[in-house]
């Protein structure tokens, strides 16, 4: 493939990311408590949990945007501070539920800009070809040259997917990536995530869409109230939506049991 050959040699390849005893406090609120997890290349890890469970915080820490109050995040055994910041961010791809694209530029221009920024391609022609290929992959080839603000929510999300995957990041973090996508979009994203996993990337996904996510998971972690309540590893292809749901229920039970001994806070006086 032309784009494959055009990739510059010596790209950093992350093999493992380890979270050890991760805590994050915001003043009086503990967002995440004592989470430990290992992520490996070629594995897709799903982070499940109710809203506010601390999943986005954990992802933020993996993306080096959030600093742990306690504990560490190790990238191939080294902390983020020990890495050269640019080298680490070059391996990183973050897809959020917000597209984070320039709405005044066209889809193609967005991709070209971010592609150049990541320096993932040897020269301009390789970059242009890769952008065109990515646009076709996500189904935006016909809308490629309109300003992004004219794109629908689903198409913007597809653009965001293309932007994130263009530099072929080694650590791929996805926070509710299915937001705004129609059924075709969901299938497309699942396909692309599986392809990234095959390529050997470390993939971490937060989502509530258990049926779409199920068949892709190699590892699942369930967070409730900031704590890791359930964890399981699956052989490739053995996981599915119902299995995730069972794990979720197991986690809720574990969480309820842990909370059974708590004193109720005093009722406010009338």
């Amino acid at each position: 493939m032309a784009t494959e050959a055009a990739r510059q040699p010596g790209a950093a390849t992350l093999q493992t990311v380890e979270v050890r005893g991760f805590y994050k406090d915001y003043g009086r609120q503990r967002a995440v408590a004592d989470v430990s997890l290992t992520l490996r290349a070629g594995q897709l890890t799903a982070l499940l949990g109710e809203n506010g469970a601390g999943k986005s915080t954990l992802l933020g820490a993996l993306a080096t945007l959030i600093r742990p109050t306690r504990g560490q995040v190790l990238y191939d055994g080294t902390t983020a501070e020990a890495w050269s910041p640019l080298a680490l961010r070059r391996c990183l791809g973050v897809l959020s539920h917000e597209p984070r694209c320039y709405t005044d530029l066209s889809a193609r221009e967005n991709l070209l800009f971010f592609g150049r920024l990541y320096g993932a391609f040897a020269d301009g022609t390789a970059l242009t070809a890769a952008c065109a290929q990515k646009l076709t992959e996500v189904g935006l080839q016909r809308a490629a040259d309109r300003p992004a603000r004219t794109l629908s929510r689903g198409m913007l999300q597809r653009l965001a997917i293309a932007r994130t995957l263009l530099p072929r990041p080694q650590l791929l973090l996805l926070d509710e990536p299915y937001t705004g996508l129609d059924r075709d979009g969901v299938a497309l994203l699942s396909r692309l995530m599986a392809a990234e996993r095959e390529r050997g990337a470390i993939v971490v996904v937060i989502s509530h869409d258990l049926d779409a996510l199920g068949p892709l998971c190699d590892q699942v972690a369930v967070l409730l109230h900031g704590r890791l309540r359930a964890h399981a590893e699956f052989a490739p292809g053995t996981c599915d939506g119902p299995a995730l749901l069972r794990l979720y229920q197991q986690a809720s039970a574990a969480g309820a049991a842990a909370g059974a001994g708590k004193l109720r806070r005093a009722e406010p006086r009338p």
């Binding site: 915001y26 933020g60 070059r90 990183l92 320039y102 150049r116 990541y118």
Partner: protein
């Protein structure tokens, strides 16, 4: 895999900012119009009796510039914040200092554009007369240095405001007290240049030197503080 060199990163980011601003043309025009309106308002306030003094003209120039500049800067950062593209840039493998410099330069370009509107408006409405080419040269130099100082502070705080609810009011509150030396040097320097006598030109030279020092310190401060202010929680 190497990413682009530092100047190239700044250039890429700056070019992106320029293109985005040009595409959203109606917002630039609105800011330019705002600048003209400010000058108009000042003319209603000051004109009608005795002809306006050179001091008034110098003052109006810099107030109009800083008000419309602040508006343009707020709006520009607000757009980045709404789309959260700043976060995308913070995650990308670009030097934070390159990001800061590109913001500084794009803000400066915007304000130079505003000058191109405000100065002629002053010449027209207030009868401001700059003099010969030498005086114009000095004025342009003064404006450039003043704008760079203003932009150095505004770019730093504009980018670090985050998503606080009061951020629209907060930016002027943070920036204006800090750029008082720039406004003072700019207004007094402009007065000195417009006045045109050899002594006042000496004054103008003093103000220019002062601005040079301020700009160097402000840009260094911005480069130094940008990373911690935009950084991780």
């Amino acid at each position: 895999m190497t990413s682009a060199s530092f100047p190239r990163q700044v250039a890429m980011l700056l070019w992106k900012d320029v293109r985005v601003e040009l595409r959203a043309g109606e917002l630039i025009y609105a800011t330019l119009l705002f600048a003209i309106i400010i000058v108009l308002l000042f003319s209603f306030a000051f004109l009608g009796g005795a002809p306006p003094t050179v001091e008034v003209m110098a003052g109006v120039l810099w107030v109009a510039l800083s008000l419309s500049g602040m508006l343009g800067i707020s709006r520009s950062f607000e757009r980045e914040r709404e789309a959260d593209t700043l976060r995308a840039l913070l995650l990308a493998p670009v030097e934070r200092s390159a990001l800061y410099l590109s913001k500084l330069l794009s803000v400066s370009l915007l304000m130079l554009l505003l000058c191109a509107v405000v100065v002629p408006a002053l010449c027209l409405l207030f009868g401001m007369q700059v003099g010969d080419a030498g005086a114009w040269g000095r004025l342009i130099l003064l404006l450039t240095l003043g704008i760079l100082g203003f932009a150095a502070v505004a770019a730093l705080f504009g980018a670090s405001l985050g998503r606080a609810r009061v951020r629209e009011v907060l930016l002027p509150l943070l920036v204006y007290p800090l750029v008082v030396p720039v406004l003072l040097a700019g207004a007094r320097g402009t007065y000195a240049i417009l006045y045109g006598t050899p002594e006042s030109l000496d004054d103008a030279a003093r103000w220019l030197k002062f601005l040079l020092v301020f700009d160097s310190l402000a840009v260094m401060g911005g480069l130094w503080l940008f990373e911690p202010l935009c950084a991780t929680e």
